[in-house]
Each structure stands twice: as C-alpha cells, then as structure tokens.
Symmetry: C2
Subunit: 225 residues, 2 copies
Amino acid sequence: MAGPEREPPAVFAKTAHNRIRRVFEYARYERAEVYRILDAGFVCHIGYSIDRQPYATPTAYWRQGDRVYWHGSSASRMIRALAGGAPLCFTVALFDGLVLARSGFQTSVNYRSVMAFGSAEKVEGRDAKLAALEAMMERLVPGRWDELRPATEQELKATTVLSMALDEAVAKVSEGPPDDAAADCALDIWAGVVPVRLATGAPEDDPKLKPGLAAPAYLDKIRLD
Amino acid sequence: MAGPEREPPAVFAKTAHNRIRRVFEYARYERAEVYRILDAGFVCHIGYSIDRQPYATPTAYWRQGDRVYWHGSSASRMIRALAGGAPLCFTVALFDGLVLARSGFQTSVNYRSVMAFGSAEKVEGRDAKLAALEAMMERLVPGRWDELRPATEQELKATTVLSMALDEAVAKVSEGPPDDAAADCALDIWAGVVPVRLATGAPEDDPKLKPGLAAPAYLDKIRLD
C-alpha cells in the first residue's frame, strides 16, 4: 500500500541514527542511490528487540515507492512484535568483492548497503494485501504472478504484510581497488579484488511436476544481486 | 582467543531465545550443523541496541572452536557498544534458492541460517589479536597471511577483535522442492527451484600492482558460499 501522497526529499536528512560517523566517504544520502541498492537486493535483515533481547532476522523484502515491504506468518513473533510499532533497523547488504590489499589492515570487502530506521505498519485490507504480494512476486520472478493459483482467504489471513516508510535512511558504498599506501604498493605482494556476486543456476523441476511442463522463459528475468 | 577449556554440549539446549516455535521442522540444534553453516558463510548481521534503537549491522566473521569472531575499528560505535557487553544476536543467513511453488503462499526461499545469542568479549593482548586476525585471513583467503606486510602496532591498536561463545544457538535449514498440496500439483503451472549461490569471479589486479606480479594460486581456494 502506498504511503500518503507527498514528495519525499531527494536527500535524506542526517539524524542521530543514519549519520555515518567514520568512513563518511562511503556514505550516500541520496534517495535515488538508496533505492538503487534496495531494488538490487532481495533479502534484508531486520534489527528489533523483544523483551530487551535484540534480534537480527533475515527476510525477503521489496520496495514500492517510498516504502519497503516484507511479509511473514501472522503467527510469527517477529511479525507480531513489529506490527505493534516497535522501533526497527532495516538493513540490506550486497557483497561485491573481496578487496585483497597488501596488509591485513587494508584488506576489506566491497559492498553496497542500506540502513533505514523507523517502525512498521500492517498493510490492511484484502486488496491492498494482494497488491503488495503481487508486487513482491513481480520483484522476485517478474511475470509469474498471473500464472499462480490464486490465494485463498485462509492463506491471506495467515499472511501479514508489513511496510515501513523510508524517512530515515542512508546507503554506504565501498568499491574499487585496495587503498594501499605507496610504500606498500612497492612490495612484491599481489593485490586486487576478487569479485563476488549472487548467481542463479539452471531451474530444477519439482519432482511432482505435471509431465510436459517446461520451465517458463520469465525465469531468465530473475535479478537478485 | 579460545574460551576456557571445556567440552561444549553436542546439542544446544532450547531457551526462550533460540527455540524455534513455528517451522520447527527446519530447526537444527546440533552443534555440528551450526558449525557447518557458520563455516560456509563469511558475513553475519549483528543485532544490538544503542539507546534503545535497534541496529542490524553486517560484518565479516569467522569461527574458531566454540566461538565466533568479528573485528572492526576501535572507534566504531558498534564495536564500542558490543565490547561493553551489550546483549546481541549474531545471525548468518545463506541463500540457496528460490522455491517457486504453484501458489504465492507456498513460494519461499531455501536457506541455511544460524542465530546465536549472548554478548561479546574483546580479544586482549597483541599475540591473541594477531592470531585471531590470522585465523580470519585463513578463513577468507587461505594461504595469504604469511605474504602480507605485517601489521604495525598502530594498526593493531586501531583494530578491535570481538568474540562470542556459542552457548545459545540454533540453525534453520529450508531445502528441497516446493511443498504444494496434491491438488495444486495437478495444475498446469511449472514449479521448481531456481538455485542461488555466491559466486566468485576472476581476480582483478590492483591498478597500482607492481609489474610482473601474477594473481596467486591460493585465490582458487576461496569459498564464501
């Protein structure tokens, strides 16, 4: 469900939560950059607390407009805690490479990440819920939704969809070759980047597949990053 | 630094934090299974709070014995908060495939995950710190440590290594084909799994590489999962 009509700011304001304090050259406060990273990933980790115990729970997510969405069983502790409006941290981290410098200290990882802060709201109403779940499928496997057996009322009831407005967010991007000092670059040590990416393999038929059904062409459009 | 000598239990006890309540068929409490997953991954997300604001922070980690380790700048807020003994949730999630069922409801993701609960301790002392950093490099790029320009005292001082005992942990494993009901399996809808894995690409030389240095053979041993 879309948030209230408004034009969100093109650059996120720096707050106590999203301000990058140390490696500030990695920080990106532009909304467009945050969206680019969110739209490339498909799994987030949500930080929240229940009875003062922190949790970091991985789950699939998607973005619609200026909100991120995720879903789960209506019986899930995480979903119930967050649907109640508990403060949360929504994190997406995509890994692009191992940066192999000439010292351990400069060795690092290239990544694109987003952290967003706020609290979640339940998507209410049958139509809004279905529209959100369709958007999720369209993100993961574009073109598949219309083929699926439609959701039953029971399934919809068992599913809670949450969303959070992207009001307080920041991206971090670490990219490029190692940043060794000139003296280190003169050493006889190989340095460079080993690229990393999330790759999809050839589809594997369900053993219970009805004979004669071929893997659909839209599977080639899956982009998970 | 290794924890005190003791034989850790082969099966984690179920507690308020690590007991899987809903999809209990996915739960694995065996220590060996938890270690297998931890040893396959290289990035965790740490859930913790600062001033009641939850955070989920991604960082590289490694395992030694019955402890997990991670490191960071001694000036990092996350590192400082956790070095003070704040409760945390240590999560590793590895994604193995998109499970494309015949309904949205049964559509899911195959994954292996670990959640561990506790609090961190600082690795104290120059030698223990160096040994831990060597273990990290050995996990990420086996064979590289001895080639590197040794750490300076300043670099060691700027780096904090944290570790946490694996006392309260659980794994979850979701694998295999979709779990559609028989009636759905009879529909004319393709179903199956699209495998996903973290792939490494060909090493890219640092533009500042000293001429004549070739990418080392040990790069082939990198296994990130």
